[in-house]
């Protein structure tokens, strides 16, 4: 049985360190936190160490802290931080942990959050470490599926776009293996899911298929997870130009899908979802961003040991 004590003081570095029952517990907690505001985190200080800008993630966390009556200190990009003066990450963490109860870390290098957690006495939440992991994004994606489809178990999820470099996709695919999901991977050859990930799916006996046609992938899908082809992941700009418009979801493509298809996207989008889709009743990507506040409220309250006041 999972309880609030399993989360108190815990670091959140990768999704893979969470068992299925722990994830379910967190998502249940998020549902109960959706409407909660007040002073649960009064007097608590949350440090936001963002060594690279990520406005969306930072605002979502800051909103969650504000809704629960806590406060934030920190910085939003490396240029204004001590790193610009040559201070090591480990030293920055040692200083800032004395000012706060919880560290939220965004860093361009992979494994930065694990290092910070080793150094810090207070809990650390990874808010994205390079191309590696962004666990709260994955929890938000799962929560969105739960909210929009009423369940996660057994859903047929189509991933489309950049499956090679897309960090959100890698994490979500690996966690969905815990929920008996059916997985369809839609991408050009060049942007296929990495071999290591595909092998993991095979080892776990997860049912998945790969296709290049978005239209053909949709008829049986419950969820479509669209992604942006990220310019910053390509070293060769001509490669980026070749693939940036690989897929565009518009109303004519959606003709192939069930009416109930839930459309998710980690945002920001560029052109891969046409504006006309925004009015689709199951276009969930803006709600998905908003659900992030509920998930982060629940997670922070759990880690800081205050969630029992809300959870039934």
């Amino acid at each position: 049985m999972v309880s609030v004590s399993d989360f108190a003081g815990r670091d959140v570095i990768t999704v893979n360190e969470f068992r299925r029952d722990e994830i379910v517990f967190l998502l249940d907690a998020a549902a109960q936190f959706e409407q909660v505001t007040g002073t649960l985190l009064a007097g608590r200080v949350i440090a936001t160490l963002f060594f690279e800008p990520s406005t969306r993630t930072r605002l979502s966390f800051e909103s969650a802290v504000g809704r629960l009556g806590g406060s934030c200190v920190g910085f939003a990009e490396a240029g204004v931080s001590s790193q610009a003066k040559g201070e090591s990450l480990a030293d920055t963490v040692r200083v800032v942990e004395g000012y706060s109860d919880l560290l939220l870390l965004r860093h361009p290098l992979e494994g930065a959050a694990r290092l910070a957690a080793e150094v810090a006495q207070i809990p650390v939440v990874n808010c994205g470490d390079g191309a590696h992991q962004h666990p709260t994004q994955t929890f938000v994606d799962l929560y969105t599926m739960q909210r929009e489809c009423g369940r996660i178990d057994g859903l047929h999820v189509v991933f489309a776009g950049d499956l090679r470099y897309g960090r959100a996709v890698h994490s979500l695919v690996s966690v969905l293996t815990l929920f008996n999901a059916r997985i369809t991977l839609v991408s050009p050859q060049f942007l296929r899911l990495p071999e290591e990930q595909r092998r993991t799916l095979e080892t776990l006996g997860v049912e998945y298929r790969e296709m290049e046609s978005l239209e053909a992938s949709l008829p049986e899908a419950d969820v479509l997870y669209m992604t942006r082809v990220q310019r910053e992941r390509f070293t060769d700009p001509t490669e980026y130009d070749k693939f940036k418009d690989a897929y565009t979801l518009d109303m004519s493509v959606l003709q192939n899908a069930r009416d109930s298809l839930a459309i998710l996207h980690p945002l920001p989008r560029v052109q891969e979802i046409a504006r006309e889709v925004d009015v689709h009743p199951h276009a969930a990507y803006f709600r998905q961003a908003h659900y992030g506040v509920a998930v982060r409220k629940a997670l922070m309250a759990l880690i800081l040991g205050h969630a029992d006041k809300v959870l039934a």
Partner: protein, 149 residues
């Protein structure tokens, strides 16, 4: 037959035997050796009816635990014998541990261990040949990509 190449018996020194055939030069490159030692290297020596192996003999130098740990990653099942006064004073078969720190550098340029002064932390994923996973960035590294030091 297999040992006819050997110039003479060691009085003092270290012998790495049963190295996986073809790994001797990589093994030699990974060792921390003092200058001007006599070293004999045998590559693709016959060992048994069908088997082949490599051997390294180092005169007047005792290999360290760190050296042994590196060899265990390059060639599991190799043996290390330390020799003093023509006698084998210690002989061990080398096996990779389940987990270790340091020894190799993460090949992922975007890994935090390349930027901060922190020793790598490794989980052994496969034992023969060895592959390991960086506990910081989760990159899996096969043994032929190990960079020691």
């Amino acid at each position: 037959m297999s040992e006819t190449y050997l110039v003479n018996k060691l009085r003092d020194g270290s012998v790495l035997d049963h190295l996986r055939a073809g790994t001797a030069l990589r093994a030699l490159g990974a060792l921390n050796l003092p200058p001007e030692r006599t070293i004999s290297v045998g590559i693709y020596l016959k060992s048994g009816r069908l088997e082949r192996k490599d051997i390294i003999k180092i005169d007047s130098h005792q290999l360290t635990e760190e050296d042994a740990a590196k060899i265990a990653l390059i060639s599991p099942h190799a043996t290390l014998s330390l020799i003093r006064n023509f006698k084998v004073v210690n002989k061990i078969e080398l096996h990779p541990p389940l987990r270790f720190r340091g020894l190799i550098r993460c090949p992922n340029h975007a890994c935090i261990t390349r930027a901060e002064s922190v020793r790598g932390s490794w989980l052994v994923m496969e034992r023969e040949p060895v592959s390991v996973k960086c506990e910081y960035c989760d990159r899996t590294v096969p043994s032929d990509l190990f960079r020691f030091g």
